[in-house]
Amino acid sequence: MTAGAHTATPGPSSLRLVLTLAIAGLISGIAIIGIYESTLPTITANKARELREAVFKVLPGVSQMQQLVYRDGELVVSEELGKDEQAVYGGYDGEGTFVGYAIPGAGPGFQDTIGLLYGYAPERRLVLGMEVLESRETPGLGDKIYKDAEWVGSFSALSIEPAIVAVKKGSKASPNEIDAITGATISSKAVVRIINETHSDWSERLPRAGSEPPLTTSEPAGNGERP
């Protein structure tokens, strides 16, 4: 391996080069697959737990949930999510009674994309809660959209029809209006806009109020059927 010589030492053969790379790749692949498999259960459990916590925050009173995928024109219970499919989450209370949907949405905020989850009760057409899942808004200003507990709390019992409107602080008049945050107008209005846009996408896909997919209590094995 030392640089050599004035005598022409031929370099390693191409086979040797390819073999070295192949072996390196093989060992690397084994190591990576190993770590992936061994951490997969923990990672999946973490993700599921985070989702549950978010859903329970935006739908007060629920203790059980399931994923509902919009597939072939209707909302079905399904654990798997296809590549271009979209899903919401159904929240149910202790007895299995439907409480509301938790709907994820995202869109441009002030600095970058804001991702959120909001709870929706179809019978009363009310937003029950909102939780910001990811944001890169300005610290100290825009980040109030998740740090200001009072503002986040004002998303409970918010009428969604007609669309939610963010108004100047203190001038809230109708049930579909919400105060914008002073100093974070754009971020807070972005949150409202994201909810409105997401909702207009989903309102046609959700079934008629009262005929939501029931909770499948047993281990879900793929699609559930609606009654």
Binding site: G11, G25, I32, I43, N46, T138
Partner: protein
């Protein structure tokens, strides 16, 4: 002789040849993840793991890796360690992993790690290589921590999430934003320059004193 040699390799990375402050390597992840002390430390530990692990393997196999494909081999080894670190962090501390985000895989592109393999680990025996790696990674961790601590204290009034000053402290928000990263590192480098200038001046004075008598 051997003992002081390896000791020297160890500590040179911490101050004299600090990868960030002196060699100015490994910049990319530095500034992005140092908006808080905990993020900085997590990134420093991940890099530590990758650097030491890679150096160990590269040095162990240095006689078997042909010169022509050495860079590719180094990158494969480094990428493997990074992927391992990525999944491990995701499983153990998902919150920190979320904050660091895409910058964990970007450890692969950290010129410091590749640079060490090329310049050192591939040419020296295992013990020296590992000492060097520990020193460099330690220096890196120290640098990250100082940057993260300064930015968090000034920009958030806290360290590791623990609020240091009272309610009335108005945080210097820009410090935890991107410009703060650039400026803080720039000022720290300024201090290093100042040190160096002073030291050179001092040495020059001493030399002159010895000559002049």
């Amino acid at each position: 002789m051997k003992k002081s040699e390896s000791y020297d390799e160890l500590i040179k990375g911490i101050w004299r040849d600090n990868p960030v402050f002196v060699q100015v390597l490994g910049m990319c992840p530095m500034l992005a993840v140092t908006n808080s002390a905990i993020n900085a430390v997590a990134m420093g530990m991940a890099t530590f793991f990758v650097l030491v692990g890679s150096s160990f393997l590269v040095s162990s196999f240095r006689d078997w890796i042909p010169k022509q494909v050495r860079i590719s081999c180094f990158i494969i080894i480094i990428a493997t360690f990074v992927t391992v670190a990525d999944y491990t962090l995701l499983a153990i501390v998902p919150k920190v992993h979320k904050e660091l985000g895409a910058f964990i895989p970007l450890i692969v592109a950290n010129c410091m790690i590749l640079g060490r393999q090329e310049a050192f680990s591939s040419r020296y025996p295992v013990r020296l290589a590992v000492m060097d790696a520990i020193g460099m990674a330690g220096g890196f961790l120290l640098a990250l921590f100082s940057l993260g601590a300064i930015r968090e204290i000034l920009g958030d009034g806290a360290l590791f999430g623990v609020s240091l000053f009272g309610e009335n402290f108005e945080p210097w928000v820009i410090m935890i934003l991107p410009p703060g990263g650039f400026l803080t590192l720039g000022v720290i480098l300024l201090f290093f320059n100042w040190f160096k200038l002073k030291k050179d001046e001092f040495l020059a004075d001493v030399a002159e004193a010895e000559r002049g008598g």
